[in-house]
Symmetry: C2
């Protein structure tokens, strides 16, 4: 048990499910399309994968994905299956783990659908990775937070500001009491606002604010790029007294995340842009519990999970499942990753978010939900804190709004926004 | 023109197409869900994306992907659109390019489908990347090939052999005259066959073969892993006199590919395992012309394209489109990437492959198509070369098979295999 890797899939196949599951186990371990002399029993015993469980769910008349070889069958069976590999095949490596559980599988013509639902790793695998340097506890400590989440926002417009314009926006956000501010994923090292110039300008604004107020908001600089650029960016952040780097996880790769985690004493803010590629087709891709696990092992401290009633296509159930996965301890040492809620978030989703999670261990990032407050950024930030304090204290939103002017105005404003 | 990035998409939307296209351009540049003071005209002029073209294709009654906000419309329009960004937004960086053309797009609720078909890059972007160190010309020169492709194969079983067992398989393949041998994507650094031990054992077998025959097959060692492991692997290959490293492109990330390209004088063999995640759903993901472009810029010399009549779900048209994209010159300096054909390839697909491509600039990788030859590996290899020589000379397969015993036996054997 402790020396096995287990993967859970939702599959759809025109074949008998046992045959399709065996094809997966074979393709992803010792099988090949002809029986070779070298595929000896010893090799199979050492490295063969096996099907541990099959649970039929439904039969459907049309395939979810094209390209399956149907033979004479006109129906497709959907099933949950579990495949088990010897840990020794993979060793403690994320790239080979993904090649094994998620490699040449979605192209198989034995399948008209396959989605990776979950992965269980042996302790030896997990132990080999550093995990988040700061994670949930470190992020809360950084902000000195008790019952409420860090209130976050993003520099807008996403792209196009010059370094000094960015710094001015950051100064306004800091003045408004925001805890956490981030770059957009589109803005890394634009020619008109190079990363190092942005770092200098933004940290200047943060220093001036801290000198005056004693409070330093965290700024997540998007250092995504080639390795040299990411290292230069991380160094520049450290040198300027910053403490957070943002990475576009899908494009920089886990080896880069791991290297930065090991080399720099920075919070790593993990951005999942492109996640829809892996998730939007229901019978393809992977569930977020796998995604957050891989990146958590690589050392990400914060990771995006979208938000309730977001502007994207993701359901609330999916968002909550993602956040719960991030907040599930991963031993040794807990190593939870802080989920970042965002996308059209306002005071209106706070109570539902808290009720569903039973936790304020998150970053609650708002754009319009802060700057759209009719009384300005400070009132917007205050209204969000008031909503979270109310939720944590069991006070309904309407009641809390009667007692707090900023929250009342926020509720009125954003309720009107909803069609 | 020369300072713009252009992306071509196939989209599907319940909204008027103009509105959906504008949402994409806005989301991926200066737009946000509320009009902010900071989104000034100067910013939009500097960094705004625009919709350059819309071409309606079809209306369909059901959405390809779930999660679109339909409003009152019950029909979905499919269209090709073209979005243009200022090059200055991105600069010469692959991660930010992908975040821009392929980031938070497939999650948009304005869409029930989006697939990235192609990307056009300005010269300044292309010039900033090294491209393949060897590419097509370097690979051909390495093998001393004229009219025929390099004949390749893969160590089977994919995973489970001990280092000395692997070396024995390699010795047999070398003896059989095979040009190129590769690791499986599942086999990187297994506990029972650590990478460095495999490199030592395999290069020993290759050295002994070369000492005797003067011919050195190329072996692609799968060094995929974290950065330290990849660098250690690359160093060990160089030290042992090897010349090729294989990478699981989707899991190591382009920053790692670029770093290895710059640091080591090795052929980089790009493996696309997991590509089905990006390609199998027709209205999601990306076309291979984008995928090969990104990895070609990062410095990959060989890249997998599947093969005609393969065992996977991909159509022949798609395979050929991929190979043609790899073989299209990318200036400055050509920088073509060698397509690797594989998956159930035998002598039977050779003529069709050559006819469709008009080129033998490829690696033709066979597993059972070589070892399944009834007269052994040498006969299998010879039969494939004979088939390619015939194709290049315009001699039909049946005629060539009459004149070459190994080819005749191969044709007979593999024709029987086809149901």
């Amino acid at each position: 048990m402790s020396d096995e890797i287990r993967a859970h899939y939702l599959i759809e196949t025109p074949l008998p499910v046992e045959q399709a599951a065996a094809a997966i186990a074979g393709e992803q371990s010792t099988g090949t399309f002809m029986k070779l002399a070298s595929e000896s029993d010893a090799v199979t015993a050492r490295a063969g994968a096996r099907v541990a469980r099959i649970e039929r769910i439904a039969e459907v008349p049309t395939p979810s994905l094209p390209g399956a070889r149907t033979g004479s069958r006109a129906r497709y069976t959907q099933a949950r299956i579990e495949i088990v590999w010897p840990y020794a095949n993979v060793g403690p490596d994320l790239s080979t783990l993904m090649a094994t559980v998620c490699g040449n599988l979605s192209e198989l013509s034995e399948l008209s659908g396959i989605r990776l639902l979950d992965v269980e790793l042996p302790r030896a695998f997990v132990d080999a990775f550093p995990g988040p340097r700061f994670g949930v506890e470190g992020t809360r400590a950084r902000f000195g937070l008790a019952a409420v989440p860090a209130i976050g926002t993003i520099v807008k417009p996403s792209i196009g500001l010059l370094p000094e314009e960015t710094a001015q926006v950051v100064a306004e956000f800091a003045e408004g009491g925001i805890d956490f501010i981030k770059d957009d994923e589109l803005s890394a090292n634009p020619l008109f606002a190079p990363l190092e110039a942005r770092i200098a300008a933004v940290m200047g604004a943060i220093d001036r604010h801290a000198d005056r107020t004693g409070k330093r908001p965290m700024f997540a600089f998007n250092i995504s790029g080639d390795l040299d650029q990411m290292r230069r960016g991380a160094e520049a952040i450290v040198k300027a007294g910053g403490d957070c780097a943002m990475l576009s996880l899908n494009w920089v790769g886990t080896p880069a995340v791991l290297a930065l985690r090991r080399e720099f004493p920075l919070f790593i803010h993990g951005h999942r842009n492109g996640w829809g590629l892996f998730s939007r087709a229901p019978m393809l891709g992977l569930d977020y519990r796998v995604y957050q696990l891989v990146h958590r092992l690589a050392g990400v401290d914060h990771i995006h999970v979208n938000g309730l009633r977001n502007k994207f296509s993701e359901s609330d159930a999916s968002v909550l499942d993602s956040a719960r996965a991030c907040l599930a301890p991963l031993f040794p040492g807990d190593r939870r990753v802080m989920p970042v809620f965002s996308s059209a978030q306002t005071v209106l989703q706070v109570h539902d978010t808290y009720a569903a999670l039973g936790s304020a261990d998150l970053i609650y990032a708002c754009g319009g939900g802060i700057v759209g407050h009719p009384d300005g950024i400070a009132a917007g930030t205050r209204s969000l804190r008031a909503a979270w304090e109310a939720a944590a204290a069991g006070i309904p939103l309407a009641q809390a709004a009667r007692e707090d002017a900023a929250l009342r105005r926020a509720v009125e404003t954003f309720t009107q926004h909803i069609r």
